[in-house]
């Protein structure tokens, strides 16, 4: 059994205009999990992330990080250990050079300067952007900005990394790069939460899927189990992953033997066909 890292209990959040965004959300997150958070626009995913990171204060509800209940005093501890890569990199990048930008988080952690420089260099190499560390962010392309915003969080060495719709506004090549980074981070045992509308990606990558709908979690479990649950998919306005749909169609027409070996990617699918 893996260790519980973050426990969210009965979280309620109401926006200033009286619209309730989170309506009693409870979830347990274990170390090293790869979680895809699905749900239509306005279903409360981003609000949930901001609450979990302590940026927004919930109406009521508890956030427990490694056994400590988070209150105003140890909020910083929570922010230090949970990093968010925001959807729009332009809303995150604040400094006027890439180097200073990536160093912003570590500097706020009040680390010694040598340590900051070391971490920044590491993060830049990790994201393969060492070449433009002196460049200002306004001369970077969208994909490069995204990489910078990920390097921001890597430099902070947080245990949990939250990606808010990372694949939005990326070209296919950058999306592949992003997936590689995600796999690499996953192999290093980071806990990751990713909100996405790309069900194929969620099906391929995630170990666990959480589905939000109107501020509530309506489903939480293995990707396969969730994506086979037509009820949930309909409620959350999601479609089935293409791979799964094709597999099921083929099985239904008796073109394939039903071995319950659900392929997650085209490569896996090809292997099944070759048999």
């Amino acid at each position: 059994m893996e260790k519980l890292i973050l426990k969210v209990e009965d979280l309620y959040y109401i926006y200033g205009n009286g619209k309730s965004a989170l309506d009693g959300v409870s979830v347990d997150i274990y170390e090293g999990e790869k979680i895809a958070v699905l749900g239509s626009n306005g279903s409360g995913k981003s609000t949930f992330f901001l609450n979990v990171d302590g940026v927004l204060t919930p109406e009521h509800g508890k956030i427990i990080y490694r056994g400590t209940v988070i209150n105003k005093k140890n909020l910083k501890e929570l922010r230090k250990n949970i990093g968010i890569v925001f959807q729009d990199a332009d809303n995150q990048i604040i400094a006027s050079t890439v180097m200073a930008e990536v160093a912003f988080g570590p500097m706020n952690l009040k680390l010694p300067k040598e340590e900051v420089v070391k971490r920044v260099e590491e993060a830049l190499t990790y994201m393969n952007i060492s070449d433009f560390k002196d460049r200002p962010p306004h001369y970077l392309s969208g994909g490069e900005k995204k990489r910078v915003s990920i390097a921001d969080i890597i430099a902070m060495k947080s245990e949990i990394i939250i990606f808010d719709e990372p694949t939005a506004a990326l070209d296919p090549l950058n999306a592949i790069m992003l997936e590689e980074v995600l796999i690499k981070l996953g192999s290093e045992g980071k806990t990751m939460l990713i909100s996405t509308h790309d069900v194929d990606f969620a099906y391929r990558w995630a170990e666990r899927v959480i589905v939000f709908c109107e501020g509530k979690i309506i489903a939480d479990g293995e990707p396969l189990e969730i994506f086979q649950n037509k009820e949930v998919l309909k409620q959350a306005n999601l479609k089935q992953p293409t791979m799964l749909e094709i597999y099921e169609a083929l099985v239904e027409k008796h073109l394939l033997e039903d071995t319950k070996a659900y392929p997650k990617s085209t490569q896996e699918f090809k292997k099944i066909l070759e048999k």
Binding site: N91, I94, A100, F104, N108, H138, M156
Partner: protein, 300 residues
């Protein structure tokens, strides 16, 4: 004295022409096509100055060194009020920017056109005067009054132009070789109040974001015929302006969230790296300053 100034001006022109020709030959040999800019400044020049600063070959020089050299030169220029000093400064700064910084002479001149226009407009009124009587060394009858001037006055104006131009080129050397973030860093080291320095760095970053948002809005309005006639243009401009306000408020919120998520707690601190200043640079700068002072001493 005038002869020397004229000589210097000719020399300056020759340097520029040489660089220019050299460049065009180079381009032809290379076979690459460079954009043919129209002479003079284009709109959005602000960002091109910023771009030149990043492209400059003397960018890696220590920022404090560059800023102090340029400010010291500026002060000396104004304090000495000496045409020789001014000419030397103009040439030296052009040399630093164009030859050392490898900014094209073309780009340099086109950036300088903005201040030159202002200087000429400003000094023109000093050179001439109006009168009912035909007085002064030179006068011109305009039908109802005389415009007159004198040699001494013209001389003052030329010296004034030289002084202002030298001061501007000293500052231009700084802006064309040092990115704003580094200038802000120097100011921080010079103990300029934190509030101002933080505001400067934020404003610098957001100017580009605002411009970006504005361009996007303008383009989308244009694609929907938002600028088809004068009345519509005014209306569109107003809508964009009000929309920008809303967007900037929203962006400010999003930014604050993003900063808080990264442990921001009231102090904007950025990592700044010190670049080494080479001895030869200091020696050269000191020699230059001493030369200026000596020049002033001998020609006073």
């Amino acid at each position: 004295m005038e002869k020397i100034i004229i000589l210097c001006a000719i020399f300056l022109m020759a340097v520029f022409l040489f660089k220019w020709k050299h460049r065009s030959e180079y381009t032809q040999r290379d076979g690459t096509y460079h954009h043919k800019h129209k002479f003079g400044h284009k709109h959005g020049e602000g960002s091109s100055i910023d771009f030149y600063a990043y492209a400059s070959k003397i960018r890696h020089w220590n920022a404090t060194f560059k800023v102090s050299l340029s400010v010291l030169t500026l002060i000396l220029c104004i304090v000495f009020d000496n045409p020789y000093v001014s000419v030397v400064v103009i040439i030296a700064m052009a040399y630093l920017t164009v030859v050392k910084g490898e900014l094209s002479a073309y780009g340099y001149l086109s950036i300088l056109t903005i201040p030159i226009v202002f200087i000429l407009l400003g000094t023109f009124t000093i050179a001439i005067d109006f009168s009912k009587q035909p007085i002064g060394q030179y006068n011109l009858y305009l039908g109802f009054c005389y415009v007159f001037t004198s040699e001494a006055k013209l001389k003052t104006v030329v010296f004034l132009i030289l002084k202002v131009f030298a001061a501007i080129s000293a500052l231009q050397m700084m802006t064309l070789s040092t990115p704003s973030s580094e200038i802000i860093y120097v100011l921080r080291k010079a103990h300029v109040p934190k509030l101002i320095v933080e505001l400067m760095s934020l404003i610098y970053r957001y100017i580009f974001i605002l411009m970006d948002v504005y361009t996007k809005m303008k383009n989308s309005a244009e694609s929907r015929l938002g600028y088809c006639d004068f009345k519509t243009s005014c209306y569109t401009f107003g809508s964009i302006a009000s929309n920008m306000l809303v967007v900037s408020l929203k962006k400010a919120n999003a930014y604050y969230d993003a900063m808080e998520a990264r442990c921001y707690d009231g102090d904007l601190i950025f990592l700044e790296e010190d670049k080494k200043v080479e001895t030869i640079q200091i020696v050269a700068a000191a020699a230059f300053i001493i030369f200026i002072i000596l020049l002033w001493g001998f020609t006073r």
